[in-house]
Symmetry: D2
Subunit: 366 residues, 4 copies
Amino acid sequence: MQPERLSVGELAAGQPLTVPVYRFIGTDASAPSVYIQANVHGAEVQGNAVILQLLRYWQAHPPKGNVTLVPLANPLGINQKSGEFTLGRFDPISGENWNRQYLDNQLPLAQWVSEHYHLADAELVSAYRQVLQTNLQRRLQSPWGVTTGQRLAYTLQLMASEADIVLDLHTGPKSCQHLYCPAYQQQAAKEFSIPFTLFIPNLFGGAMDEAIFCPWWRLTDYLASQQRKLAVPVAAFTLELGNQELSDMAQAHQDAQNILAFLHCRGVVAEAIAPLEMKRYGCYLHNYRKFHAPRAGLVQYLAAPGALVKAGEPLVRLLRLDLAIDEQEQLLTAPEDGAAILHFASAAVQQGTELYKIMTQLFEVD
Amino acid sequence: MQPERLSVGELAAGQPLTVPVYRFIGTDASAPSVYIQANVHGAEVQGNAVILQLLRYWQAHPPKGNVTLVPLANPLGINQKSGEFTLGRFDPISGENWNRQYLDNQLPLAQWVSEHYHLADAELVSAYRQVLQTNLQRRLQSPWGVTTGQRLAYTLQLMASEADIVLDLHTGPKSCQHLYCPAYQQQAAKEFSIPFTLFIPNLFGGAMDEAIFCPWWRLTDYLASQQRKLAVPVAAFTLELGNQELSDMAQAHQDAQNILAFLHCRGVVAEAIAPLEMKRYGCYLHNYRKFHAPRAGLVQYLAAPGALVKAGEPLVRLLRLDLAIDEQEQLLTAPEDGAAILHFASAAVQQGTELYKIMTQLFEVD
Amino acid sequence: MQPERLSVGELAAGQPLTVPVYRFIGTDASAPSVYIQANVHGAEVQGNAVILQLLRYWQAHPPKGNVTLVPLANPLGINQKSGEFTLGRFDPISGENWNRQYLDNQLPLAQWVSEHYHLADAELVSAYRQVLQTNLQRRLQSPWGVTTGQRLAYTLQLMASEADIVLDLHTGPKSCQHLYCPAYQQQAAKEFSIPFTLFIPNLFGGAMDEAIFCPWWRLTDYLASQQRKLAVPVAAFTLELGNQELSDMAQAHQDAQNILAFLHCRGVVAEAIAPLEMKRYGCYLHNYRKFHAPRAGLVQYLAAPGALVKAGEPLVRLLRLDLAIDEQEQLLTAPEDGAAILHFASAAVQQGTELYKIMTQLFEVD
Amino acid sequence: MQPERLSVGELAAGQPLTVPVYRFIGTDASAPSVYIQANVHGAEVQGNAVILQLLRYWQAHPPKGNVTLVPLANPLGINQKSGEFTLGRFDPISGENWNRQYLDNQLPLAQWVSEHYHLADAELVSAYRQVLQTNLQRRLQSPWGVTTGQRLAYTLQLMASEADIVLDLHTGPKSCQHLYCPAYQQQAAKEFSIPFTLFIPNLFGGAMDEAIFCPWWRLTDYLASQQRKLAVPVAAFTLELGNQELSDMAQAHQDAQNILAFLHCRGVVAEAIAPLEMKRYGCYLHNYRKFHAPRAGLVQYLAAPGALVKAGEPLVRLLRLDLAIDEQEQLLTAPEDGAAILHFASAAVQQGTELYKIMTQLFEVD
């Protein structure tokens, strides 16, 4: 099985930038279709290993629904080195985060719905999908052009917008596994085998998951205001798979099993693979807090990713070798109870560096 | 005259980051106060030379209003080199644009106005200014901390919020002089000696000028809805002084004269310095278009900054040495009539690079 | 005419890195062969435009000798952006200068010469060239591999080593035109139409020109010690064409004419194109001095590239807005008489930044 | 105890760059003096924590010899971020490695020795030390200035040149502990508690350790040629303490104990602290091999730092998601037997990236 190559840009010296695309045709036309991409942030490589495992699985066990797999989704970001690390979170020219450049695919809903209200649900969904895609294509063909990041993002979004289920595989810097889940898809938190779930509102902030579900959530919402009930027909999630700059095939095998279990719940995978038994915590996005370095210094991270911390417990040992000996070691403590989800990658920080992201006001998901 | 040193952060190795602040006490307590900063983007140094010229002028000719001058306003950005150039537009860790991190100083206006409606205008303005500053201080003291960029931005914003007139001195990459002017301050376009003015709406996008005037415009707007008329008591502008990575004392002298002329119009400067006679063009922000490279290649910029261009006229000669000889030279043309305000700094571009910014739908300002 | 594509590497996401190669077969088998490359430093693009002009010329007027033209010779460097500029002087991972990674092609000369002494000159040259190439190929195939930069450099060096004349087209940051010329090729300084020539010793420092001529100069030298006279059969030059980040087709046309004139002198070009009449200055490499910033600050460059300066004359106006007003403006002066060949690209410098390169102890070349 | 602050440069916005210096006066004037620095490469922070532990120890147990401790020795490098990591190996402007810019302190030995041959050994050493320092000071005061990196390096070198024993604390990217030891100091390998020692020749390559011992080794060597025997009176070592971007106080305590044990062997520390019992391996520098990626791809490092590997055993699992499914997973194997000392920090690599450094031709040290 060979990938297709999708063109997403051109380097300054003329080399085409392409992305590999693998497609499986589902065995059951009524099953949902799936789109999975990885590595939109250049240093977040583990999703590629997961896709490799999924490729092997589906070659042996064809999926019921159509599946599109897009590893190495951001060749510019992956290839951007600065020192020994991959500088892949943002466009090195503009600073734009590669995962904040998707199109906010807004339509004049009142007019569109009034024109299409007569359609049956399936046709309405199909027509709406069509207009979303046309809008993306129109933007890509603007006489003023689009930015490098928009070309990449819109091109991926166009492919992803064909699917019913979209998974965007990311990682944190030093991170435990966690899930971004739209609030309207709350049950999904139990279908994934991920200990921490962030429930995000139905708002557009620029990321792929939001770019996929927001237009559909708006449609559902508007139809409700017109006394028509339509379940949001599309779901999109961002999976944070652990640490960046890490490729681990054994972990990838487990991650692939977990995704297959979710997709079994959704009718895409025939084999009965069950989500893991585990304690699951939830947090609303507005309770997801960033802890910034109140002082500069050298940092020893004391709370491991995934650890539950209490207010006042130490998060960080801060060293200041420029000060008098008795001021050289300081402890920074958690402002509130919560779970330390991820921490910064470097051990030397400026004042203000985001040291930890902490889920507060945790609740159990069950 | 020695500058004060304002603390704005700490480097990883412990060095304090400070910003020099020069203050003149005005000779006339009723004259408006002024705040001028420069070099928030690290490569945009020319504003410092302008401040140097203003310092010399005001030492010899004290201003009527209080004046605060803040050169070298972003020490992190100025000191961030990457190769031979200053990488100073965004935080190298996060990619955040240094001029998009000011606080959107939103208050619960209905409640606040109902509690302070009884105050006379001057007292109302004073009380409102106080609450804006308290809000900034509270954010700076959050137990979760603020980012490196927010600490810088909020600290500058706190100083700037004391003034009636705020000027933020920037430059473009390769650029002609142009002005960002809030729509409600339209007359200012003639008080500056700048050929091109962008009229921006009263919306917050993260920049200093908006951070200063938006809260006041909202107050005026809300008061109007309550049948009380209050002219927006504060004005803020971004001046784009030309090219980045350039320090030119003769040009700085002229730029300082132009600012003094504007401030004479506003009653801050006693000496009768007049704006230059010149043709002035205006453009609304939504007509300010970016022209992105439709293809990668090597670029010769054919339209000089400030040139008027017609649709179809060449903007760029694009070279592609990787192609057959007869395809190696291509011309890219303007999609619409307009003025070429600025172009990219490099001669080798990816597909999607922002080659030009062009004001379209130009009108004369008079 | 289509370029061949030479493979020089692979990006992390798997994309092949290739370099375009254009070849002309000469009309006269006895004429010298020529290799010209451009853009080994990523920001130094003007050589590509010169190659474009040469391609057009030789399509119309075929050369006598074989010609190989390699524009865009460093795709990694050209594509490496950091902010708005091309960060193309060194490998972003290791810091290695792209033009210091060629192989010092050293042979055990005593043994080799003793084994081949019996050969006639032409055969000796051919055998030596062969062994140099074999050595390069062997390095490229090491079981331990070679670095990214070595793969590029050795691959280019292998191609260049087939030619009798090698030109490496570079630019400075902000620079006048100047030439690096090996001391044994002194007459070449008058065959190029370049006002300033650096005469470099026959030593290997890692650059392409040295990598090409050093092995031959060593052979000549060793043969002389064995009482056999062989003129160095190969010549290599680095041409500094002016400013980086600039692509100018009119200037490129003139530069191409100047190269054609040189190649006419060398019997490669049939048409009688003469070097320009101009004053030419020479300088020995050990008199080429770097002037480093004695203090940090903002910089206005006062000596234009190409200007003759006297000791004590101002080179730079340095602004220090962090100091008291009467210390804010300082002048930095030339330590010796000389010609200001190039200056730094940025207007904000640390202490120690290389502000100017100055040829001292100038002499006229004639 | 407060550090002194040594000035080593100025940032573009005028901030002084300083380095903290802690000094202990020894209790025994005849004991050797010691200089220890850390963090010359910006991401290699662990040496600072070791110095913190040494400071605490020596406050409680004063050393016999004078001790100078210089943590945070490269403020520019430490503060240079690019993305989430510290880009601290090389000057971001020039690409120069911060640890390759020390002065090759060469004297005209024949003349100097002939003039000072009459001195007794102690006076000869003292006079030679003086002339080395004078030479450094003269370079720092050149009218042409020195580079930013030279100013830092020469200033540190000047301080270090006062000591009899110099330790430069570094780390690798992902690395086991190893030691750079000059061949003439072979016994030191057993005085340190470090499992792997590289024996380096008495040649200058630009690093601190070489910059310290080379001039002395040359003196000893020259004196020997003049029939005078002088043991090399100075020793310098580079300690590689493990991973970069890591600060760990427990490990730092152990590392400090190990350094104290070495210094006890050398008569600097009174307390009887013994080196650890451990198996120690040695390798000559010319057998220290770099294994470069023969292909690009995503990398799982299979040999842990410190592991012994056999030729043909897998070092790396390489993933290529752009290829057909059955080519996506490849194994790269060791070309020879050896010890995998360190590997690259990132999981996505270009062709040619240095994946591993491997000591071959290992021998036991005892």
